[in-house]
């Protein structure tokens, strides 16, 4: 039984303009994304900026109301719930944001920040809540006297720990982590990644883990989905995806990672051009279009849904990007 099932999720934003501020075009940020997530599992989501990975994250916690598609969480379809009904579901569904400096209220003490989830959910007495906040701080490795301090008194890594503590407060089943370590230095990044792994082991958390750093995603994830221009182009168990990528885009992404080993100099196939705009995206295979692949014409007439090529390994079977 999966904890989260996303089916054919679409998130289109209207692009307005002109004299009457009418909708001129649609920005198809997410265009038909499906995946599922089991309890205690981590699904990594990678792709270049603008591919729609953060929009998926925001839709899953319903910070955005999807245009179409369903999001089943724990047996409830959250894509249609009202704000009141969502409040209850959000106990089990939390998010950690990229920039901890911007996602913590600068005028609240850490104690207030950590007690707020309990107040919103009307849980506990005042004494109980402050006890819980102290426990949370201990759990993420911060000193107990932090409750009286303000966010600016902490370093980036410590603020991210506070963000994680807040997400943990209501004992959720799923935490959506949107680029949780990309604002941090490498030595601190390793500390935060280790903390996330430890919490997952202790509480059986599931993560939807979004990052642009492919080695970080590989380290954290059980399965990885690669997004390109609003669609998942490949999804596979982490080891399988990194050892045996099938889609040309996945190969290009993996090839672009700089390797911290000067003895391994390699000639790489550089990807030309930039990610095209999701406003009026090309028909057919978007990556084939960017690469000006001779078979791109062919792909516009095909069904480009994901196909299972080996157990658990799905790929968008288009003639330009995959040798089947």
């Amino acid at each position: 039984m999966s904890l989260l099932t996303v089916q054919n999720l679409k998130m289109h934003f209207p692009v307005r303009g002109g004299v009457f501020y009418t909708t001129k075009a649609k920005c198809k940020a997410v265009d038909g994304v499906s995946f599922d997530l089991k309890p205690g599992e981590t699904l990594g989501l990678v792709g270049e900026s603008g591919c729609g990975k953060s929009t998926v994250a925001k839709s899953v916690v319903r910070l955005l109301k999807p245009t179409a598609g369903s999001i089943q969480f724990n047996g409830h379809d959250i894509s249609t719930k009202s704000q009141g009904q969502l409040r209850e579901l959000r106990r089990e569904l939390q998010m950690v944001f990229q920039d901890p400096a911007e996602s913590l209220n600068p005028r609240h003490t850490i104690g207030q920040i950590l007690e707020e989830p309990f107040i919103i959910q009307k849980m506990g007495t005042r004494a109980e809540r402050s006890e819980w906040a102290a426990e949370l701080l201990k759990r993420v490795g911060l000193p107990a006297d932090a409750v009286h301090k303000y966010p600016f008194e902490f370093s980036g890594g410590q603020r991210q720990r506070i963000g994680i503590a807040r997400a943990l407060a209501l004992k959720p089943k799923l935490i959506v982590c949107d680029e949780p370590v990309s604002a941090l230095d490498v030595s601190v990044q390793a500390q935060v990644l280790n903390l996330l792994l430890e919490l997952q082991r202790d509480f059986g958390l599931a993560y939807l883990f979004i990052a642009h750093d492919l080695s970080v995603v590989q380290h954290m994830s059980d399965r990885v989905a690669v997004m390109y221009l609003g669609k998942i182009v490949e999804m596979a168990p982490a080891a399988e995806l990194y050892q045996n990528p099938r889609h040309a885009y996945t190969k290009a992404l993996l090839d672009a990672i700089p390797v911290a080993d000067p003895t391994k100099h390699r000639e790489r196939q550089l990807l030309r051009g930039d990610v095209p705009s999701p406003i009026n995206p090309p028909a057919g295979c978007a990556f084939g279009h960017r690469m000006k692949h001779p078979k791109w014409e062919e792909s516009t007439k095909m069904d480009l849904s994901l196909k299972e090529v080996s157990p658990g390994h799905f790929v968008q079977a288009c003639p330009c990007c995959v040798d089947l």
Partner: protein
């Protein structure tokens, strides 16, 4: 080894703040050989950008000051020349590219105008048509598609990768001898990063210039640099040829930095080695080994209070030989 184009000797740079003077770069010495790429790596606040801004004399005024040391560029001390002379050096001989191309480009001027401005500043007599031709040529060199059309466009019409290419074109238009790139790819996607790094490498070979590449990404260092300088809390803790540094890092900080990166061959979902704690505050820095409070090696309090000696280990590989591991150095 070829002769150095730039020599930095015992550079000390500080900032005057309300709480007194803080020293951000404390006695940094290194040299950049002609035609080579030197990488400076370190975490935020280690002084790598301040070092770069000291070399180009672009420190925030009036708070930033070079307090000591010399910066010799082709045997001329850049700390001693007038601002007017420095302006001639900047752009002509030394150019810089910055991390965020959107903030470094003027949003209300076309790309063409900004490129031509760089030409005019250094060659006031040049024909406008000639300046424009040179700008177009440069945009083609940095592989901007439809370059002619781009000359009339504004920065917001370009993607991040394109903007960074424009920055590079602007920096190279007067064929400088030294390019300082301060985190040139940090704001970019990996695929675009690979393109930009390749571009810098190619331009370096074409123009025979030297490059100082500042980054926090060891992967970028490994792929592009000939030599590496590792900075921690305002000081150089280790430097050497790139292969040496990665094959046998000597300083515990360098070792920690290399180990704590998630690697594709590291078993997934297992704890990564970490450097515990965090960088000490600039206002409250130990006098001696600044890494000691986070160092995994056992050490005495002397290490904290006394500046540790620099030790040369041959082949250009040197390290701040803190007493906690210096004994192992002589043994090996």
């Amino acid at each position: 080894m070829s002769e150095p184009i730039l020599q930095v000797e015992n550079l000390i740079t500080g900032f005057d703040t309300d709480a007194g003077r803080v020293v951000a770069v404390d006695g940094v010495s290194f040299s950049v050989p002609k035609g080579k790429t030197v990488g400076i790596v370190g975490e935020s606040g280690c002084g790598k950008s301040v070092t770069a801004f000291s070399i180009t004399r672009l420190l925030p005024q009036p708070h930033g000051k070079i307090l000591g040391g010399r910066i010799l560029f082709e045997n001329r001390d850049l700390t001693a020349i007038s601002p007017e002379e420095m302006r001639q050096v900047r752009g002509n001989d030394i150019s810089m590219i910055f991390q965020e191309p959107m903030t470094a480009l003027n949003p209300v001027q076309t790309i063409g105008k900004q490129l031509c401005e760089a030409v005019f500043l250094h060659e006031p007599e040049i024909e406008p048509r000639e300046a424009l031709a040179r700008s177009l040529d440069m945009l083609n060199k940095v592989r901007i598609p439809a370059a002619e059309q781009r000359l009339n466009e504004y920065p917001h019409q370009l993607s991040g990768g394109m903007r960074q290419r424009v920055m590079i074109a602007m920096a190279l238009i007067n064929t400088p001898k030294l390019l300082i790139a301060d985190e040139p790819t940090t704001a970019l996607d990996v695929t675009v990063q690979a393109q930009i790094l390749e571009l810098i490498r190619d331009m370096q070979q074409d123009l025979g210039m030297s490059v100082i590449l500042i980054t926090h990404d060891l992967g970028v260092i490994a792929e592009t640099c000939d030599e590496v300088i590792v900075m921690y809390a305002g000081r150089i803790v280790e430097r050497g040829p790139v292969r040496e540094i990665f094959a046998k890092p000597l300083h515990p900080y360098t070792q920690g930095l290399i180990k704590c990166l998630p690697k594709l061959d590291h078993p997934p979902k297992t704890p990564l080695p970490v450097i515990p704690g965090m960088v000490p505050s600039l206002a409250d820095m130990p006098k001696g080994c600044r890494f000691a409070p986070r160092c995994p090696n056992a050490h005495s309090d002397d290490v904290l209070s006394q500046r540790q000696p620099w030790k040369d280990c041959g082949q250009g590989h040197g390290v701040e030989a803190c007493a906690c591991f210096a004994s192992q150095l002589s043994a090996s």
